[in-house]
Amino acid sequence: MTRIATLSRYEMLLFWRNRTALATAVLLPVATVGTLITLEDGAAGPTDGAGLLIALVGLMLLLVVYYNLVSTYVARREERVLKRLRAGEVTDGEILAGTAVPAVVIALGQMAIMAGGFGAFLPLPLPVNPLVLIIGLAGAVVLLVGLAVISSTFTRNVEMAQISTLPVLLVCSVGSGLFIPITELPGQLATVARFLPFSPAIELIRLGWLGTADDSAATDFLGVLSRAAGPAAILAGWVSMGVVGVRRWFRWEPRS
């Protein structure tokens, strides 16, 4: 644990010194939120506000955790930092986790700020089932870190990350209904979308907060628990596949 803390402290320092990454991670979400708040000005009920906030949370997780971490893992691999660390006492898991911590902390911090900022402008409901909400958030973070590790394997250099991340970004944002609700997708597509990696995480967040993830009426704490079983199982499936993928494909040093 202290070794993860050490790694993440210096990774945070590197993040602070990398002005490009810093600007992308901090300014992009701020700008997005600003734009959306002005668009949403004088909008309808509290559920709409929360729905929008959830979409932003999803988007930010994708950009700050997934996209940003792909670049970081690739950079550390190409600098041979990962290989060097592996020659020390730290375990593989500690190296990957320690590198991921800053991005996750920044994303969570921004979410908190965003929720605060949102709350000041729009009425937000209290979460129906905070447990499911937190499981959804945690699952999303673990899944995206795993996806970032796997994507980095297929990314030759930091510049390539701009392209190599597009498929996952697209599938995850559209598939989980961040822009258009899944229910408005044509029949078959909607079913497929529910099974995509990021969709169950967003579904859990919606369920936990709003008591419903689609057009159906909101339910209570226990109702949410039973509705959450399906997406939680799908998410767990994706996370375990991610772990297998990381073990199988991850490369610790540059291709020679």
């Binding site: 202290t2 070794r3 050490t6 790694l7 402290r9 210096y10 320092l13 590197l14 010194r17 990398n18 550390r76 600098e79 041979r80 930092v81 990962l82 290989k83 060097r84 660390l85 592996r86 020659a87 020390g88 006492e89 730290v90 375990t91």
Partner: protein, 324 residues
């Protein structure tokens, strides 16, 4: 504190090590290498580029699993028992691997936070003479300074066994001597060192035991004296056209090539002799040349050295190709 009775003698034991790389080519980089390193000794793995030195060392360090064979470091399997071995070894890879945007002192502090028995950061920076560069970002360091930073990190955890992959490659002569002195200090403190190098003088200077690798196998091994002894001194000269045939010289051996024995009446030719007693052979040769009034052109006599041994091994391998 050491791992029981097994670890009493040798710090490193390698038996029949084979390392294959995956892929369609199934390249076999290490083909059955064995050696031992006694506690407190320095073992040098010599060889040209691509001989398999780094591939071997990586398995001994526990960075990779052997395809076949057995490796023991301090009595443990370095790959399987990584958690037991790592806290007691230090590794310096062939190429750095430090984030360029951290300063020297930040890099060492970070590593100190990752080790279970770290020395004070300042002490180690003093040892490798990087104290005056502490606040310089790694990206601004010279090649030699990076190598020293690497060395600092490798010894930071007070290792019992230290692995150095080409520790002085790219260093200027003065820094090389500094590094040698530093390594001698570690040996004096009882640290076991395994290093790879393609500098023969480095092995001659530091090694208690050495092995010369060529194309994935060990082709010569032993103490420096033993390896040199197995490879004789060399005398070469040009015999002028029309000179008398060479007499039989004491302790000398002519290369076995059919055209090697010079005959009278042929044009001048280059002759190389191997000898186990350089002075005796040379005296006989020069006496003969003086009496026969023959001038030996480009006379060159080299004592046995690791370099000669090394070249002989490399030559042995090349000659079939030349003949083909």
């Amino acid at each position: 504190m050491f791992g029981g009775a097994r670890a009493a003698g040798n710090a490193i034991e390698v038996r029949g090590l084979v390392r294959r790389y995956g892929g369609p080519t199934r390249f076999e980089a290490v083909r059955g290498v064995s050696f031992q390193v006694a506690r407190g000794e320095l073992f040098a793995l010599l060889g040209t580029n691509g001989a398999g030195k780094t591939s071997t060392l990586e398995v001994v360090e526990g960075l990779a699993r052997p395809s076949a064979g057995e490796v023991r470091v301090l009595g443990y399997d370095p790959f399987v028992d990584r958690a037991k071995v790592r806290p007691r070894i230090g590794i310096m890879l062939q190429e750095g691997g430090f984030p360029p945007d951290l300063t020297v002192v930040e890099t060492v502090r970070m590593w100190a936070g990752l080790l279970s028995r770290s020395q004070p950061v300042g002490v180690v920076l003093d040892l490798v003479r990087l104290d005056h560069r502490a606040d310089v970002p790694v990206r601004q360091l010279s090649g030699g300074e990076r190598r020293r930073l690497d060395l600092a990190v490798a010894v930071l955890g007070r290792p019992d066994v230290l692995f150095l992959d080409e520790p002085t490659t790219g260093l200027d002569p003065e820094s090389r001597r500094d590094t040698w002195q530093f390594i001698r200090t570690l040996l004096h403190d009882g640290v076991t060192v395994a290093l790879t190098t393609h500098y023969l003088d480095e092995a001659q200077e530091l090694a208690d035991q050495l092995a010369i690798m060529h194309q994935g196998t060990v082709v010569a091994s032993g103490t420096v004296t033993e390896v040199i002894a197995a490879h004789p001194a060399r005398i070469s000269f040009t015999l002028p056209a029309g000179a008398a045939p060479l007499p039989d010289l004491p302790h000398a051996r002519l290369p076995t090539r059919p055209d090697a024995r010079p005959n009278q009446g042929e044009p001048s030719q280059r002759v190389t002799l191997h000898t186990t007693a350089l002075q005796d052979t040379l005296t006989a040769l020069l006496t003969w040349a003086a009496q026969a009034e023959i001038r030996l052109g480009g006379l060159d006599a080299r004592p046995a050295s690791l370099e000669e041994a090394f070249l002989a091994i490399a030559d042995n391998d090349r000659s079939p190709e030349v003949a083909a």
